[in-house]
Amino acid sequence: MSKRPLVPSFLQKLDDKLLRNKPNTWAARTHLVIWFAVLLGLALSVFCYLAFFDAKQYNSIEGWVTFIGLVAFIGFVFWLIYLLRFNVFKRYGNWFMWDGLKSFALYFVSIGAMVAVCFIPSAIETYRANQQFGNEEIVNDINEINSTACKLEYDLLPLEWKADTCKVVDTIINISDEYTVADTVAIAVEVAGPKYHKIDTAELRTKLFQVDSVVKIHDSLYVFFECPQYLFVSSGDADDYATQKIIYSAEFYRTIIRNYKKPDRPALLKRMEELKTKYAASSRYSYYDEGSDEYTNDTYLEKIKKRYSLKRINNGIDNAVNKKYSWIKNWDSFLRVFYYTTLIITLLVFIFRHTTIKTFFLSVLTAVILAIFTGLMMVMSNGDETAILSFMIVYYALFACIALSIYGASIRRAIQGIALNLFLFMTPFVPLIFVALNEAMKYRRYYEPGYNNQVITEPDNTALYFLIAEIAGSLILLILLEPVFRKLYRKWYAAPEN
């Protein structure tokens, strides 16, 4: 056994032991992949930790992921080179139950380790952002910046609230009848003019939730009031995970504007400068770029923002907030990207290890040709999503039938090998295809004539159904892997050629 660079003696001993006792496990080299993934991960973590020192600045995380993805891909190629050297199955070695499942698990872990490395920059970025800014701290600072701006620029702020008079009806039938003179409603006329517009009860509920103030004239007539904008800095998700909440304009009106007292201006200016230093992003880019301070119009908002560099502060807060909560908010997306990337590569590697090189590439070619054929059929027949999904189910059934015919075959045929490869590859996605087809058909029914006026009573469980399908697909694959797929591969691969 040659000494590998960067491999400690305990791992070398483990490698030797696996070679002599567990050839299948040794051939997968999972222990080495994990070791090198950990090494790369640690080095990358340190590097990212140093690089992402300021959470308020914009980082091109996509660029980082692409770069690390390329490094992981090089690692994957190296792993493949080593993996393809030794194959117990293709050497007709001793056959043990669960070896197929074990191999699949080892490939999944190895590939998963390589894919997981790509998530490190994002994870470190989040960790650094949380280290730099507390959840409550950001919300308090946003409130302080807005309140300070209000106090400093009171003279520029508008004080008039907007009013909107609405008449509530059961159903809006005629849109053109939106504005109507309502001379019987004195208070509404006084505030908003002699017009009102019709809203239905659903919109009423929405408005009641959104507006800053409301006056109910009677059961079907409301006047909604909207406070002028006093929020100069905000971030939509900043208070999602804090006990403190972002104070909105109406609250500032009530606490600062309505009973305005002359502030200690130098102290406020000093504090504003401190907050600017703390949050203002130096880069003009942000995840939600508000643009630079240079090109502004003459509204009070723009004037105030320009005076205190509030756009750069807002960009900095956005950057920090986005980094802080990207994993909490997107964990399911990240998990899916990780899982499906790993699963698809694992399936390809597993297939490659159990089939001939020629059949593997013929399977890829078949998949491409079928995709082109299906696309052509769709274009020519104006088919929709349901047609594509139906095609996929037909293909799967076809592949399954041809693959299962291997049980009765005495010679190795390429077409059976291709069908078996595609049968295996599609299996974890079949429940998803069925659920997607069902959802697509439901969606299509909504647009059928006469469906518009029906009330949808069933709850929307689409996400749950897809989640169940995802889990079911993986379980079906794992259940069938040893008793069906590996037995079929055993029979097909070892069979004599014609």
Binding site: L19, P23, W26, V88, R91, G93, A494, P496, E497
Partner: protein, 382 residues
Amino acid sequence: MIPTVATEIAGYLKHGDYAVAVRRTLDFCLDTGDDTLIENAISWSRGYHENENSKSGKAIPDNFISEAEHILQQATQQHAGISYQNNPLISAEKISKTYSGGGFSLKPINVTVNTGNVLGVVGENGNGKTTLLRCLAGQLALDNGEIKYHLLQKPDAYAVKNHIAFIPQRIPKWYGLLKDNLHFSASIAGVYGAKNDLMVNFMLERLNLSSYAHLTWNQISSGYRTRFEIARILLQKPKLLILDEPLANLDINAQQTILTDLIFMAKGAHNPMGIILSSQQLHEVEKVADTVIFIKQGNCLYSSNDKAEKITSNAIEFETAASRESIIALFGDCNVELQFNGGFYTITSGVLSPQQIISTIVAANIAVTYFRDITYSTKRFF
């Protein structure tokens, strides 16, 4: 029977045939199944090979003979009653194969191999030797006929290929260290842990490959590649070993060594096996094979099993500077047939025995630089 092997080895040692003695002693110890004894034998063999490679000037290391006697004594004690059983291994009845693309077809042929037996398949290039071997190895589907693997009950194709090892003419490249490949092969055949190390070391010593084990495929010659492939296959403990032209890349000494090694190992108690090999080296194959079949254009023209029925005349080939006329004149009315193929003369006679033919030539004081009795050799069909 067992003392004969020990006596045979003692004879080799006595007459200075140390290389053969080492190889036979290793086989002898392996058959005992005693790991300690095998380890001792490996260590002893290693000392011999290191001395041989060191060019120290000494033929053998110190204590070589005494250690050999000690090992032989122990092995003899443990070897009592150990021998292989000559069981039927594979029998093919009227198997035939026609390629769909080309016109070539292998005509119906019968083949039987028992444990410990060697079947040689000879014939010119492109006449169906490899096709026959691939059919027997389960690599090619048969058009007709049936192959029975007697040691397997209702085997599927995977079990058959696990049971048989096939070494093709062009050996696929190995990747990684040669020794790792050997450990892996032993491991996939169920030889684990310390036994794995022991068997790999044994095979390296047995085929004199220890000093090359740390190298890679590209660092060794084609002859050594064949030897490593044989070592790898033997570690997988096949019951039937099929070799397609294994001698092609070997020098003349290596050809003899490999063939005799294979015969010894096939008949060993450790993993008795049958061997089928094809080759152009007729004499080498005929020397070791229990049965030789000759294939021409897909037909089995001759099998040494039924030589009694088919051979009606005796034949020798010889090389001499004498003229054709002078040789014909020697035999006068004896009704002999003389052929010259450009290198050798072949004399065929239905009356004279091979001994009488060569005696007549020698008695006439004709200088003979080479001769061989080819009465029962497939050479007659070339």
